[in-house]
Assembly symmetry: C2
Homo-oligomer: 99 residues x 2
């Protein structure tokens, strides 16, 4: 599944509701899922962790849809040419810059 | 770019550093980027918003790599069959369930 497909799946499933809710309300839902991810990372099963990652990704896609950001283009622009700090793969940034 | 490719790009670029940092330290970096995304959503340019989405995705991929979660499988399992609440595309969950 590409990042563009992720955005399309979420748009098809929730686009109408998302457009009515707006970015501020969507951000609160996103944060609720981030909190659930934190809990799953601390003590969840692999299945629970997987489900919470999916929810965070889904709400991140909703936010991106809401402001018209293309996640695939965003990642390619920032990380497609190696580490944005040093330009290398693997990253050779100093530990104080990127621990 | 697929979600699997995103995880691979981040693993190739930062895998060594990420494995030394651990999940707790990585979560704090992730949250720092979530905060920067919030700021960009409030008042950033499209380019700033795009860069912050990329950073949140990158750190989310790092977290998933750290606990061995396959983001593509996670999204397919949770959202590949329609809304997890009602099973429909578009979602027809009641507003009280999924506003």
């Amino acid at each position: 599944m590409t990042l563009a497909q992720l955005q399309q799946v979420i748009r098809a499933t929730y686009g109408d509701k998302d457009s009515r809710r707006g970015v501020e309300g969507t951000f609160m839902w996103f944060m609720e899922e981030v909190g659930e991810l934190a809990a799953a990372l601390r003590g969840g099963t692999p299945a629970e962790q997987s489900a919470e990652f999916a929810d965070v990704l889904a709400w991140l896609a909703t936010l991106a849809n809401g402001v018209g950001v293309d996640l695939e283009a965003a990642v390619r622009a920032k990380y497609g040419g190696g580490c944005p700090g040093c330009g290398e793969v693997p990253c050779v940034c100093d530990q104080t810059e990127k621990p």
